[in-house]
């Protein structure tokens, strides 16, 4: 199989630095290279402040790197027009954040459908898919509830359903269990790993937890602004 087709996400020589509060530049990413293959799950570990979140922002082009290239499904991202970029982002990437970021004024079902609403006219098919996804994360009874009425674990399950809504190629999950107690965390992690496999989405999982990291197909470590494979 051709290498580019097989790669859903790629970062090539990405560099990113920030201006610190004292005026000094902090080099967070120094020529970071990473390939995510179709269907695989990958965990990224690293010390706090090592640049994991920064890397996810750069690879999803929510933040621009100082240097380096990013490819989505083999497409070079900087070459895309703004409009194309926004559309592709919602088609290729699904996001799960540490704190769930649900829209408080929409109910559970509407929150999940929102992902599709942003790129096309929605119809019966979208509502059905959202309901199915919510069923898969075990929230079929809570469709009409507002996020404020849900527990943290439940909210994160809604966020997972939303991330899968547009059948993305990759799910980017930044410490998705960071705010949850141990028991709920393993339950949510289980869902995330299983569902992304079932929905044929690759998974990029940022986590501090070695047990969770061990459950992914491949593990990398971010340190000194570069990735190292862990075997």
């Amino acid at each position: 199989m051709n290498d580019t087709v097989n790669t859903v996400l790629q970062a090539k020589g990405v560099e990113k630095s920030f201006q610190g509060p004292d005026g000094l530049t902090i080099d967070v990413l120094r020529s970071a290279d990473l390939k995510v293959h179709s269907g695989e799950s990958l965990s990224i570990r690293g010390e706090s402040g090592s640049g994991k979140s920064t890397f996810l922002n750069v690879i999803s082009w929510l933040d621009q790197p100082d240097k380096g290239l990013v490819f989505w499904d083999g497409l070079e991202v900087p070459a895309l027009s703004r409009q194309e970029l926004a559309r592709r982002r919602s088609e290729v990437l699904g996001f799960v954040f540490q704190s769930y970021y649900l829209m408080p004024e929409l109910n559970v079902l509407e929150n999940v459908v929102m992902a599709s609403r942003m790129i096309r006219m929605i119809g019966r098919a979208e509502w059905n898919r959202a309901e199915q996804l919510l069923e898969k994360v075990g929230l079929q009874e809570r469709l009409k509830q507002l996020p404020s009425k849900l527990s943290g674990g439940e909210r994160q399950r809604v966020a997972i359903a939303r991330a899968l809504m547009n059948r993305p190629s990759v799910i980017l999950a930044d410490e998705p269990t960071g705010n949850l107690d141990e028991e709920t965390a393993s339950l949510v992690m289980e869902l995330l790993l299983n569902l992304s496999r079932k929905e044929e989405a690759s998974l990029v999982l940022v986590t501090h937890n070695p047990t969770f990291a061990a459950r992914t197909d491949r593990q990398v470590m971010l340190s000194g602004g570069k990735f190292e494979e862990v075997s």
Binding site: L62, Q83, A86, S90, E105, L106, E110, M114, L146
Partner: protein, 420 residues
């Protein structure tokens, strides 16, 4: 539905709740502003119209004047005027100040000599006669002949006369005669009844006699002082007055035309100035309401920073994020205007009940209506005011939304997502 509109509406009317508290406050703010502005403008219009009506009632639409117009001349003028298509009716008059006495107290009212057959077509004299409440004081134009006089109701009260009583009338002409040592005999007129225009200045300062009596009192022979003209509805008194004037000038006639608009120009100017000043003062209410929208939305942009980051991650473009907030302020403005118009119409519909109720609380009904002369609160609905108020409000509320919208669009997605 485009998602920015969907999200804007959802933020105003979240799922499962009727509306959000913050947007309700903003909507009520706009509503109150629009409502007060429209009520004030409509009532001011009503007052303006009432005042104009009263002026017209007293003055006719146009007067043609020219010192003393001799008999042959005015008959011709009258026929000519009545033939014009803008003119509904015309009537000759003679008017001047006289002194009246009943017993010792003298008064100096104006006497107006009229043609009883024609006067009613130009001025609502018959209505004024019917306005009189006390049956014994009433009369009709048929009661007016060369021996009788009709007095304004307040003038009659001041003179302390009732129908059937006699008043003595002295004229400036008699002074001339007195200079030549002639004996000064007043003209005695029997009071036929009274009229009530509802305007104190008219009711306390005017008496009505036949044209012939006035001609005799003023020594006009068969001449008159002028002609009052009533125009067809919708005719522009100023324009007609000007064209008449040009006509007379070109014929070399020493006549002057005066429309009621021209005659009361400064007063009417103040009336309309007052309305505009009120408008500009009141628009500040809406300005304040717009500020509250800007504040509410700015706070909402702050509160929702992370969600704005999320929107970007879900594939939102900057323009669409800006739209989400701008559409909220537009929706608030639209709802506020709609509710404000509805509220204003409702309040105006029941304005008299409201005022009566308020006055009832202070026990001031009678005093109020006496002082102020009109029955009830007038109102005149002007489409232009409604459109103007709606337009300005929508403009201001939209502008109010732009600031937070631009702030939201400027947020960097990555930083928005990091914010706590």
């Amino acid at each position: 539905m485009p998602w920015p509109l969907y999200l804007a509406l959802k933020q105003l009317f979240p799922t499962g709740r009727f509306f959000s508290f913050y947007s309700a406050i903003s909507i009520v703010g706009v509503m109150l502003g629009v409502m007060v502005l429209l009520i004030v403008q409509t009532v001011m219009n009503g007052f303006g119209d009432k005042i104009r009506e009263n002026i017209v009632a007293r003055d006719a639409d146009i007067r043609v004047m020219g010192g003393i117009i001799k008999r042959d001349e005015w008959k011709e003028l009258l026929t000519e005027l009545e033939a014009r298509e803008e003119v509904l009716a015309a009537t000759p008059y003679a008017e001047g100040v006289v002194m009246m006495k009943n017993g010792q107290v003298p008064f100096m009212p104006y006497l107006r000599g009229i043609d009883p057959e024609r006067e009613g077509m130009v001025l609502p004299l018959e209505k004024f006669l019917k306005n009189v409440e006390v049956e014994e004081l009433k009369c009709t134009l048929d009661d007016l002949d060369d021996e009788t006089i009709i007095l304004g109701v307040d003038l009659a009260r001041n003179l302390q006369v009732l129908p059937g009583d006699v008043v003595e009338v002295f004229t400036p002409l008699m002074l001339e005669k007195a200079k030549q040592d002639e004996i000064l005999l007043p003209r005695e007129m029997k009071v036929a009844g009274v009229f009530r225009s509802g305007w104190y200045e008219v009711d306390s300062l005017y008496g009505v006699v036949t044209l012939r009596v006035m001609q005799e009192l003023y020594g006009l022979d068969r001449g008159i002082h002028g002609i009052s003209i009533k125009l067809l509805d919708g005719e522009d008194a100023d324009a007609v007055s000007r064209s008449l004037q040009e006509d007379y000038d070109s014929k070399g006639l020493p006549l002057r035309t005066l429309s009621w608009l021209k005659k009361n120009e400064s007063f009417l100017f103040f009336l309309s100035m007052e309305k505009w000043v009120m408008f500009f003062i009141m628009i500040f209410i809406i300005l304040v309401a717009s500020f509250s929208i800007a504040v509410t939305l700015s706070v909402s942009v702050l509160r929702k920073t992370r969600e704005i980051g999320l929107l970007a991650a879900l594939g939102a473009r900057r323009g669409q994020i800006a739209q989400t907030f701008c559409l909220q302020s537009i929706a608030i403005g639209t709802l506020g205007v709609t509710l404000g118009i509805a509220g204003a119409l409702l309040a105006l519909q029941y304005r008299n009940a409201v005022v009566t109720f308020l006055l009832g609380i202070f026990n001031a009904q009678d005093a109020f209506y006496q002082l102020y002369g009109f029955e009830g609160i007038p109102a005149s609905y002007s489409m232009r005011d409604f459109v103007l108020v709606s337009f300005f409000t929508l403009l201001l509320t939209t502008v109010a939304g732009l600031l937070p919208a631009i702030r939201a669009a400027r947020l960097k997605p990555a930083e928005a997502l990091r914010s706590e």
